[in-house]
């Protein structure tokens, strides 16, 4: 009897000890925790300011932010993963999530998300989906990036357009009218041929999955992509877009100022650049608009950065606490003020400052219609192949058909390993 009581007491003590240990592995009362965080470029420069407040709220957590240049970020992350020296948490371009997921370098976040009551509905859907691999969330959107039209309102008005058209057909008509109004030396829209943005986004708009068979084959010869591809090539062929790349245009802001270019498709960072680089006289003459689509407002791509917890972090709970803090709507707005990066949380957009500006509002509208790029580690390289083949077709080095056939062939070769892995998985599943 006494013995049993003793045993019970011992079990209690053990259990208490266990909870204490699991508790102090994190923000428990025992000693302060130091978190290491990696952030890139401009975000890395200013996130310290936000982190400072986080530390004040959580005196037991100390955060060490290391700033990493974007140009070296990818290599550094991979090398750190192989060398086992990844930090506790970090910023990750959302196109890299699938890659680091394949490497098993990320901590699944579903449980912590559920506890915090955060989920897909709090965010823009397309952007949220870039963080989900096979049903599990591995990242939380931090800020978002998408592409919209930047255009000269005054030039459009003189050609008879008060607002930007919303369908492909009307938009093309508008481009033709601009061309007629301003003449051969003017280009209604600048779509650089050495960038994957236009072929990919128009493909998405036409409903192309870009990759088929669970991301193991190219789908560029499919009817959807073919439709958008022909449509895009027509813009170049009819002189509505100049068949040149970035390198061949000295200064696109100057061309916008001169009016040789009336519109271009680009991202949120240009809001600041346009305000800075266009002369005062034109500051009321430019605006932004969501992208037109095949039949009504079109989709754009879902970009941006996420916050992730790296596998092997000894303080995943504290890391999550910081992510939770950075995801608060008011912190997101603050971050927007510091960087110009657009908040990923829908709630932040209720802030009047964000929606007061019509140019920013166009991004808000577009963000409701975004599609993620294919979630395969090879995507970045595939995207390069897409513009290379588009460039060939634009310059007449290949017919549209042969360019698309080459593209699918190249992409299929890049994805060979994925097909083999899938086949192996399938064989294992049926074998067991």
């Amino acid at each position: 009897m006494r013995r049993r009581a003793l045993r019970a007491l011992l079990a209690c003590a053990l259990a208490a000890g266990a909870t204490l240990i699991s508790g102090c592995g994190d923000s428990g009362p025992k000693g302060p925790v130091t978190l290491r965080m990696w952030a890139m470029g401009r975000e890395g420069e200013v996130v310290g300011e936000l982190v400072h407040d986080f530390e004040r709220e959580n005196p037991d957590i100390h955060v060490h932010v290391q700033q990493i240049p974007w140009s070296a970020a990818h290599e550094k992350l991979l090398t750190a993963h192989v060398g086992g020296s990844l930090p506790d948490l970090g910023q990750l371009g959302n196109s890299w999530i699938s890659e680091f997921g394949a490497l098993r370098a990320l901590e699944p976040l579903d449980r912590m998300l559920a506890e915090s009551g955060l989920g897909r509905d709090a965010y823009f859907g397309g952007i949220w989906d870039t963080n989900v691999l096979e049903g599990t969330a591995y990242g939380v959107p931090w800020y978002v990036d998408t592409r919209v039209l930047f255009y000269r309102k005054d030039l459009l008005r003189r050609a008879g357009y008060d607002t930007m058209p919303t369908t492909w057909a009307e938009w093309k008509k508008c481009l033709e009218d601009l061309k007629r109004t301003y003449g051969a030396k003017h280009w209604p829209v600048f779509l650089p041929t050495n960038e994957w943005m236009s072929p990919v986004v128009f493909g998405m708009q036409a409903g192309s999955p870009l990759l088929a068979d669970d991301g193991t084959r190219g789908a560029f010869e499919g009817p959807e992509f073919r439709r958008s591809f022909t449509w895009l090539l027509d813009l170049y062929r009819e002189g509505l877009a100049p068949a040149i790349g970035f390198n061949e245009i000295a200064n696109k802001y100057q061309e916008m100022e001169r009016g040789t270019i009336a519109m271009m498709i680009t991202g949120p960072w240009e809001l600041g650049e346009f305000a800075r680089r266009l002369p005062d006289s034109l500051q009321n003459a430019w605006s932004t608009a969501p992208l037109p689509g095949p039949d009504g407002p079109g989709v754009s791509f879902a970009g941006g950065s996420s916050l992730v917890v790296f596998k092997g972090s000894r303080n995943p709970r504290s890391a999550w606490k910081l992510i939770e803090f950075l995801s608060r709507p008011e912190q997101q707005v603050r971050f927007w003020r510091l960087t110009g990066d657009l908040p990923a949380r829908r709630e932040s957009w209720a802030d009047t400052a964000l929606t007061a500006d019509a140019r920013t509002r166009a991004f808000g509208e577009q963000l409701a219609r975004t599609v993620p790029c294919p979630m395969v580690p090879e995507w970045e390289e595939i995207a390069t192949r897409v513009w290379e083949q588009t460039d060939r077709a634009v310059r007449g080095a290949a017919t549209p058909d042969s360019a698309l056939a080459t593209l699918d062939r190249t992409v299929d070769r890049l994805l060979e390993k994925r097909r083999w892995l899938a086949a192996r998985r399938a064989a294992k599943a049926t074998g067991s």
């Binding site: 192989v82 000295a250 580690p377 390993k417």
Partner: protein
């Protein structure tokens, strides 16, 4: 009597050599053999997460490389670096060595130090300065061009000019090292030969061509072989200046290898590229040695 001594000596020699032999085996041949094995597999991103997904692909990586436009482009760029950059670098080094050697004795150490300075300066710092020089709008190079009525050139942004721009930087950065070797070689040219030639009525050019240059032959051989090898492996200059762009016009083989290996993490393929580059450098060196050997008896 002598046999055991020789044996003892041989043993002692072996023991003394052992540490370095082991080091070379472990840290040189080991990785090389591992690299060779790697080049026959498809070691990639997926293999890091799951080692069982590595497959033996035989010469697949090699045939892929030979069938890819990127490889041939990088090869072309590398040949530019090696066949234009290396000779220019050697000629500039020789010219600088002659100038420094012929200069007033007191100025010699000064110029030696000045010309050698770029070699020991960190490339990243150098790159920042040169990017300013090449800046299309406000750069010093274009400012000079404009002064002479030549239109501005976007040195690092234009696919036709980026390669020459990188070459100029590379030559400027590296010629000091070879210059030192040439200066050492010049000091070993016997004075009597020059005096004799002068007595025979040879002018300065003839003395250079018939006395200095032949006397420098062994030095030149060494310099041209090592320089060519270095230019075949040019990496840091395009990496920090242009990241291989624009339009891959400055992507050397080593840069391509780095991209494949450490950007896309396709280590098997990158290893195959390394062995292809090795074969290329080996062939080029053999050709160089043959050419020099042929010239000698003449």
């Amino acid at each position: 009597m002598s046999a055991p001594l020789a044996g003892r000596q041989a043993r002692a020699g072996l023991v003394l050599a052992l540490p370095s032999v082991v080091l070379v085996l472990v840290f040189f041949f080991g990785p090389v053999l591992y690299g060779l094995w790697l080049s026959l597999t498809d070691f990639d991103l997926y293999a890091i997460a799951d080692p069982t997904s590595v497959r033996f692909v035989g010469l697949g990586n090699y045939s892929n490389a030979l069938g890819s436009a990127d490889f041939w482009n990088a090869l072309k760029v590398t040949l530019w670096y090696a066949l234009v950059g290396a000779p220019v670098s050697v000629i500039v080094s020789l010219a600088a060595a002659l100038l420094v050697d012929a200069g007033a004795t007191r100025a010699k150490p000064f110029f030696r130090a000045v010309y050698f300075a770029p070699v020991v300066t960190t490339l990243v710092a150098v790159a920042i300065v040169w990017r300013y020089l090449y800046q299309p709008q406000y750069g010093l190079v274009n400012a000079l061009l404009v002064k002479f009525g030549i239109p501005r050139i976007d040195w690092l942004g234009n696919p036709h000019w980026a390669l020459p721009a990188i070459l100029v930087l590379a030559v400027w950065k590296n010629f000091g090292y070879n210059m030192l070797i040439f200066i050492a070689g010049l000091q070993n040219v016997p004075k009597e030969l020059h005096e004799a030639a002068q007595l025979d009525g040879a002018n300065a050019w003839q003395r250079f061509w018939h006395v200095t240059l032949p006397a420098l032959a062994p030095v030149s051989l060494f310099v041209s072989v090592t320089t060519a090898i270095n230019y075949f492996q040019l990496f840091a200059e395009p990496y920090v200046m242009t990241q291989g762009g624009p339009l891959r016009s400055t992507t050397s083989l080593v840069l391509l290898m780095y991209e494949q290996g450490f950007r896309w993490w396709r280590l098997g393929y990158a290893a195959a590229l390394a062995f292809l580059l090795f074969a290329l450098i080996l062939a080029a060196t053999v050709v160089q040695l043959r050419l020099q050997a042929k010239r000698k008896p003449a």
